[in-house]
């Protein structure tokens, strides 16, 4: 029982970290960024290259890969989202253009790394087990949970207390009003993309370390979970995504333990669908979900 909760928290921390970036962009732009999973995948590959080819230590490679993810996010915004701003159907066309970018990113990864699974070198992280209250976890798992929680706390602080955070929240609330108040909308949205993609990238590196397998389609399964998490948490709600991420992780681990591992991905879909039927605004989302 304790062991399962621990495993759930571990998986959930990665889901939460991934989904926080997802939901941040949705909150600001009202557009679902389907390329988020591709940034996740590219950052994982970037970290892998830095560790295995440039022989950096993981602690140097991780921040570099995270910044790389953020920069990919800025490029993504510039290429696929900014040109569509102000168009009437930007909701759907933004979805489609982000899907186009995801396809391009996946093609690049496929060309460079091939379709097979790549792995981190053996000695990337010390293999040590630690016992907590009758359950055992590896040092790696604890570090992953720790890093995710610290990053999410940093984001929460940034959104709540800093100038940039206030600007992002203002744009999310109403772009027009934000512009009247003298906020540079383009810059704010670009920064939101940087933050979102950096966190998505961090999730990718941690996921790659945790399961030690990275392939060009590694983002696909996480994407489904990310969608379930942001729906459950409430579209656009960062704290909602954090809670929902951990919740999904724990539910998933219990399902696998009791029903078998082939149900792992069905859990996300069941959660997603049930929330859409019963409470479309999710746990902490805004109430108006029926507007056109």
């Amino acid at each position: 029982m304790g062991q399962q909760i621990l495993n759930g928290v571990f998986v959930g921390s990665i889901y939460a970290l991934f989904a926080v970036g997802y939901t941040l962009v949705f909150g600001v732009l009202d557009i679902l960024n389907l390329a988020h999973q591709a940034v996740f995948m590219l950052s994982a590959f970037a970290a892998l290259l830095l560790v295995s080819d440039a022989h950096l230590s993981l602690w140097a490679a991780l921040p570099l890969a995270v910044v790389f993810g953020g920069l990919v996010g800025i490029a993504l915004e510039r290429l696929a989202f900014r040109p569509l701003r102000g168009r009437a159907d930007s909701n759907i066309s933004g979805l489609i253009s982000s899907l186009a970018m995801a396809t391009v990113f996946e093609a690049i990864a496929l060309q460079i790394f091939g379709p097979d699974t790549s792995r981190f070198p053996q000695d990337t992280f010390p293999d040590r087990m630690i016992r907590i209250a009758g359950a055992s976890a590896s040092l790696l798992q604890l570090c992953i949970v720790g890093i995710s929680v610290v990053l999410m706390a940093l984001l929460t602080f940034l959104l709540a207390r800093t100038r940039l955070g206030r600007q992002i929240r203002a744009v999310a609330e109403s772009p027009r009003a934000a512009r009247v108040l003298g906020i540079d909308i383009d810059r704010t949205i670009a920064m939101a993309f940087f933050l979102s993609s950096a966190l998505g990238g961090a999730a990718g590196v941690l996921f790659g370390l945790a399961f030690n397998s990275i392939s060009p389609d590694v983002g696909r399964s996480v994407e489904l979970k990310g969608l379930a998490v942001i729906i459950l948490g409430g579209m656009g709600s960062v704290p909602g995504a954090v809670i929902a991420g951990f919740a999904l992780g724990i539910v998933e681990v219990f399902t696998v333990a009791h029903l078998g591992s082939s149900f792992r991905d069905a859990v996300s879909f069941a959660v997603l669908f049930l929330v859409l039927v019963a409470r479309p605004r999710g746990l902490l989302g805004p109430a108006a979900a029926r507007e056109a």
């Binding site: 391009v104 379709p115 029926r290």
Partner: protein
């Protein structure tokens, strides 16, 4: 005639991809994005293949009708709760649905898991495919300019306004989702009986991206646009394969890259797709 024989496979896939692009167009025509069509296609393909394998005596027309009907039935409970909500929710729910369908087929022993069903008799002829495509085009063409067609356009332009005008938005959106599912299932059934096999790997997320690319590149403002896009994007990689190989690309990633880049270019610079190109060029010349 020689040309037809040499490229029969290509012509067949232009037709099948045309049907698939139309299946995505069906929902796009009322401003909704359904990403479940690879899943619907899989359901249709497996339904058709299982009927043919277990009771070979059933006429092919009935097999195809079943392949179209099964996903249409599944689409109702999927769409009903989701379509009451905003546009993006259908996209979200359907991304999940497509993935779950694939996983079900991977894990299901009855359909031979990840290996899928093989040695399906080839019952699809080239003319069957093109006849099906013609019927689909006729239906969608008739929809244009009809009462329901105007309702769909109104929903696409402004859902709230449409519903204040007394249009039953949920019912119309559901109808198009069901129609799209039926078209995808039909295409799946046709393909299964053309390529001899069905396997879950053929219905992964990339497949629905292909359909979407073709529909959008062709143009979703005209009902025949998706077919133009499907023809263009099915033939183009064949033509460019040599060039890609000379640049050092492997064929798989090259096709993927091409798809993504073309989709991005079209959505940004030619929002109404290739079919709007002649008119745009003419207008530019006049200006």
């Amino acid at each position: 005639m020689d040309l037809l024989l040499a490229y029969e496979g290509l012509f067949a896939f232009v037709g099948i991809n045309g049907l698939l692009a139309l299946s995505v167009y069906a929902t796009l025509s009322c401003g909704q994005l359904s990403l479940a069509n690879a899943g619907f296609m899989a359901i249709g393909a497996y339904t058709g293949a299982l009927i043919t394998l277990h009771s070979p005596g059933v006429p092919f027309l009935l097999v195809l009708l079943a392949a179209a009907a099964m996903p249409a039935v599944v689409a109702v409970p999927l769409g009903l709760p989701v379509l009451r909500l905003r546009g993006v929710f259908l996209a979200i729910a359907t991304v999940g649905f497509g993935e779950v369908v694939r996983l079900v087929f991977v894990n299901w022993d009855y359909t031979n898991g990840a290996l899928g069903l093989v040695a399906i008799p080839q019952r699809t002829k080239l003319w069957t495919i093109w006849l099906a495509l013609a019927v689909a085009l006729y239906l969608l063409g008739r929809l244009r300019g009809s009462r329901a067609g105007y309702a769909l356009e109104a929903i696409r332009e402004d859902e709230t306004a449409a519903s204040t005008m007394g249009i039953k938005t949920t019912a119309h959106k559901l109808l198009m989702l069901v129609l799209g599912a039926a078209l995808a299932g039909l295409a799946g059934g046709l393909e299964a009986h053309y390529t001899f096999m069905v396997a879950p790997g053929g219905y992964a997320f990339g497949r629905v991206v292909d359909m979407l690319v073709q529909a959008v590149v062709g143009g979703t403002a005209a009902f025949f646009g998706p077919v133009v896009g499907a023809a263009f994007l099915t033939v183009l990689p064949e033509l460019l394969r040599e060039a890609g190989a000379r640049l050092g690309f492997s064929p798989g990633p090259f096709r993927l890259f091409l798809n993504g880049a073309i989709l991005l270019a079209v959505i940004l610079y030619l929002p109404n797709g290739l079919v709007s190109l002649p008119r745009r060029l003419r207008r530019r010349r006049l200006a």
